[in-house]
């Protein structure tokens, strides 16, 4: 028998501070739902939109202004791309390290929540570093019969992406998409960084999708934590629900994990046995 549905009270913005305090240390149970418009297709649209918003758009956004800049001043475009690549990689590493530190602040937590965007951004800047006209990194590649062009670089990135995502199957079955081959040390380092950033980006987007879709967006946090969860990197609005409060035991109780499994299994067997006996008894009575 399921529990009766609880009533829902909708709060206006002015009422929020009456119910929740910023400095409240208690842990609360929240759910955060960010539906797209349209009730039927919302889940599918959301599932498809997330990899694009977190993985593809941040990769493409840096390329447009840097391409425009490269038409005016190729050397400046190269160094701007190098600086921004260094900055985004550093921010990603910082966000990863900060999430492990014992102390934190709101800005760091916000940055950690936006972490999946950094590998994609860094990848966009790296592509600019490689492909911008006159780049010493791009010059370190052997082009074979081809001439350097945006389409060639795009195919080269697609080749590496396909080999990472599809376990080298396209390259083994169809062959290589481009004759490009890294020759210089800089070019080899750039290819290694490309593969590392792409792999990290895939892992981060998969983890983000997991947190948003599979874990059903229920989480336990203070009011501060709920605020960080509400700050969405994609500016998507949602509905936050307060479901309950954690009450801690005065004296926490401990046992061996293996022992708990055995006890629960014994208990389940006993419950199932009782249920079996009860239904058998009922059947006898009915006869």
């Amino acid at each position: 028998m399921s529990a009766p549905a609880r009533p829902t009270v909708r709060l206006a913005r002015q009422q929020i501070r009456e119910h929740f305090a910023w400095d409240d240390p208690s842990i609360r149970c929240w759910s955060l739902h960010r539906p797209f418009a349209g009730p039927l297709e919302s889940r599918l649209v959301e599932a498809a939109a997330l990899p694009i918003l977190a993985g593809v758009l941040p990769l493409l956004v840096p390329l447009v202004p840097l391409w425009l800049l490269s038409r005016l001043a190729p050397r400046a475009a190269f160094w701007v791309a190098v600086a921004l690549l260094g900055l985004t990689t550093l921010l990603y590493l910082l966000a990863a390290v900060m999430s492990l530190l014992p102390r934190t602040n709101t800005q760091w937590r916000d940055m950690a929540a936006n972490r999946p965007l950094f590998p994609a951004l860094a990848l966009g800047f790296l592509l600019a570093v490689i492909a911008v006209p006159g780049s010493p990194v791009g010059a370190g590649f052997d082009f074979g019969d081809a001439s350097p062009a945006a389409g060639l670089w795009a195919r080269y990135v697609g080749e590496h992406a396909g080999s990472i995502l599809l376990l080298d199957v396209p390259r083994s079955v169809v062959g290589r998409f481009t004759p490009l081959q890294p020759e210089s040390g800089l070019a080899i380092a750039a290819v290694i960084l490309l593969r590392v950033l792409f792999s990290l980006g895939v892992v981060e987007v998969v983890a983000l999708s997991w947190r948003r879709h599979v874990r059903r967006r229920v989480f336990h946090a203070t009011v501060r934590g709920a605020w960080v969860a509400c700050v969405d990197p994609f500016g998507q609005k949602g509905v936050l629900r307060h479901l309950g409060v954690l009450e801690e035991l005065v004296q926490p109780e401990t046992m061996l994990a293996a022992e708990l499994v055995v006890k629960l299994d014994d208990r389940l067997r006993a419950e199932d046995g009782c249920a079996g006996e009860t239904s058998a008894g009922r059947a006898t009575e009915n006869r």
């Binding site: 009533p7 829902t8 102390r103 708990l260």
Partner: protein, 272 residues
Amino acid sequence: MTARTRSGLPLPAKLDAATVFLWSLTPGALARWLLPVLLAVTAGLLLLLLWLLGLLARWSSVVAALAAGALLLFGSGRYLRGRLRWLLERHDPRSGASALAGPTAVLLALAGWLHLMGSEAVGLRSGFDGTGAAGHDLADWLLLAAGKTLDLVLFDLSEALGWRVGPLEPASPRAALATAVLQLLLAVGVLEVAARLWRMLAGTERFYATFGECRARCADHLDLEARVTLEGVVCTEGPVLEVDSSDFEAAFAADAKREELELRPRDEREEL
């Protein structure tokens, strides 16, 4: 609501109740030694299975290939079934997870597939360059598996640098697909082992779960000395309060801005 066990831990009246508790799981002192033991046992079991299949192949390569196929089907089926149950029945204490079921299933499937790749009865081996003559080339296939595992762990860097482990190289589409299946099995195996090791080595892990979910997590822990602690219960009385996330963000924006850089101890009970 709860009845106490002999050692004090309270149990709810019905184990599949949806009440959520705060738990912590602390690995025992010997957890750090489990990595070399786990790797050695895995490698040893894989070798043993391949050796047994090799012995069988000396008698009849067809029977050995059938046995390897059965191992592959049994292992992958058992693994998929276990993962599906984990996804769909996490709340159910009857879901019956166990620590070694996942890795063992992958190991069986991996041994079966490696044997099939090298078996003369199946014909996959002819699609690889560098295969020895009719002689014993188990080491080559193991090197291929080791190389592909390295590729997975090192983000395929060896491929970018042009390194190659072992003499075998897929030279036909069928061999490429076979290698991809091998890589898939290895990836699943690496993830299974890495997830368990992370749990054991990352120190005390706090999580919110029902009794059923906690049972699954404890059963999935390799460390027999790990201790689980019940720290609290999530009370869900009263009405659900609902608010727009943008309103919530705006209501506390000034507080967040004020203490943007103020360092505070991390609350271990939070999950974000």
